[in-house]
């Protein structure tokens, strides 16, 4: 008997968050991730969980509820899809500025504007370069499968606590909607989670000075110091948190670079290419920020004929691929937009044209 269950991507992330010790969910429905709040609405009130689900009146309200909840140092989660995540950007910057731990999920759909409800990867810039104002960074994970989404959700909460920083799970609509067998980790012991008692707003009992959580400093010297501390923290994250997968890369002459669902499709493409005698491999960034520049740059050597970036966008991550390759090898692109998911054959045909 397996310990596995059959779940949708949105359900997998929701249950993983609960297992990670999240008992506070605030959100607003939007396709293709509405099953996530729906799951939380059913699950949070269950005795075994004993958490809070609250449907906010908008994404703006939801993100500010997260701000409030995160001020107490408790694990909190919200989820949305592209237009909803845009609405949250002002507070993302505030959360990063105030160094608050919280986990966000963006199940990306076709844009810009209202767009459509089909899968896309067109929010990469917003996720990795900062959709809000100011010099801030989010730790961004891009899972390729539901099992990986479960593991990264748990990790997201741990890292949010460790760095006191918002963490984003960037999934496309397909990952949110597809069903796969998944095994969940055990429930975390809530007593053993980071308490954040040195800074969080948990009541003074009249025994200590009140803590203050803010991103506000009217003294430029002070604000620069705060920024320098943030940058130091981001440098730590860059040093410690990079994640990526290399697939059939040992002798690869063609490096397909893709993330998320497309990273998975790219593996089928690499196999097809190898059947035709082309030595293709896949480099799949798992953390989109910090991007594994040095690890990818390692493959920009004379044996490598081509870097081939495939995305469900007009070409966003390709800018980071170019930064890593630094002009040492050709970097080509294939992408679909507006909710169109490329098939392995379609990508393979494009690759054959290029080689």
């Amino acid at each position: 008997m397996s310990g596995k269950v059959m779940v949708k991507g949105t359900e997998a992330i929701a249950e993983a968050a609960i297992r990670a010790g999240c008992r506070l969910y605030f959100g607003y429905p939007i396709t293709p991730q509405s099953e996530l709040p729906e799951y939380m609405a059913r699950r949070m009130p269950e005795k075994e969980v004993n958490g809070v689900f609250l449907q906010a009146e908008s994404e703006v309200a939801a993100v500010n509820m997260i701000y409030g909840a995160a001020c107490t140092g408790k694990r909190s989660l919200t989820s949305t899809s592209s237009p909803g995540f845009s609405l949250m950007q002002e507070s993302m910057s505030y959360l990063a500025g105030a160094e608050l731990p919280a986990v966000f999920v963006n199940v990306v759909r076709g844009g810009p504007g209202l767009g459509d409800i089909q899968p896309a990867q067109c929010d990469y810039f917003q996720a990795t370069k900062g959709g809000g104002h100011g010099d801030y960074r989010l730790l961004v994970y891009g899972p390729e499968s539901l099992q990986e989404a479960v593991e990264l959700t748990v990790k997201a909460f741990d890292k949010a606590d460790k760095y006191r920083n918002p963490v984003l799970l960037l999934a496309d609509g397909l990952l949110g909607q597809m069903m796969e067998p998944v095994e969940f980790p055990d429930f975390s012991n809530l007593e053993k989670l980071e308490k954040h008692s040195s800074w969080a707003l948990q009541g003074t009992e009249l025994e200590r000075k009140a803590h203050k959580v803010t991103s506000f400093n009217i003294d430029p010297v002070g604000l620069e110091k705060m920024n320098l501390n943030l940058q130091k923290k981001y440098a730590e994250m860059e040093k410690n948190e990079k994640m990526y997968e290399e697939y059939m890369m040992d002798d690869a002459e063609v490096v397909i670079v893709s993330y998320g669902t497309i990273g998975r499709i790219a593996k089928s493409v690499a196999k097809m290419a190898r059947n035709k005698g082309i030595k293709a491999g896949v480099f799949r960034p798992i953390t989109l920020w910090p991007f594994p520049y040095a690890e990818l740059a390692k493959w920009a050597k004379k044996e490598t004929k081509l870097f081939f970036t495939v995305e469900m966008s007009a070409g966003q991550m390709i800018e980071d691929v170019r930064l890593a390759v630094e002009g040492r090898c050709p970097v080509k692109f294939y992408g679909r937009m507006g909710g169109m998911v490329p098939t392995p054959t379609e990508i393979f045909d494009k690759l054959m044209e290029l080689v």
């Binding site: 008997m1 596995k4 249950e15 796969e180 499709i265 909710g339």
Partner: protein, 222 residues
Amino acid sequence: MGNRITDHKVHIFVGMFGSGKTEAAINFSIRMRNIFDKVSIADIDIISPYFRTRDKAEFLENKDIKVILPPKIYLNADLPIISPAVGGYISNPEYKIILDVGGNDDGIMVIGSLNNFLQNADAAVYFVINTMRPFTDSEEKISSHIDRLSQKARINVNYLICNTNIVEQTSQGDLTLGEKMVMRVSQNKNIPVAFTMVNEDRKDLQTLNERFEIKRFMKTEW
């Protein structure tokens, strides 16, 4: 599959979200087309954004199964549209019709809107159960969902379908445990089990109920 089941005029597949209703409905419509000349399937799922019967419309039309969908320009709209043709085909004595209904309370509500047509029709309602899905992993939960959904749709469930699976990783133990759970629900609620769904390439799996071999249509291309 006994004649009694296929003889019904209308076949309605309901259940919880992600239980395999669309797979059941598509495979059942193909089975029906092998027996009857005029078979139609209506996608009245108003809640699923992806992986729907409409995504396989061309395939089914090629099999000479009439697929009833919302107007083409609204196929990907996040709107609860039920084609007026659904009522027409339920009333049309020439056609057998299969209804693929959306999951959960919100999905099944549309059945209520077809009440006028269904009242006098010879309809069979199937409740599809995957015991390896959250919220339908115990007898009590399944029973309470059957009660609530029947009430919402103003219909009675006539048959249960066991669709216990975690796709290709399903073990014999998983399946037997699931079938036994569904059979206990069947006994308590006095609703017969129509069949157990098994992937056509899983000849190794033994079933306790009648076996309905299916092809999976709602899958990704890689």
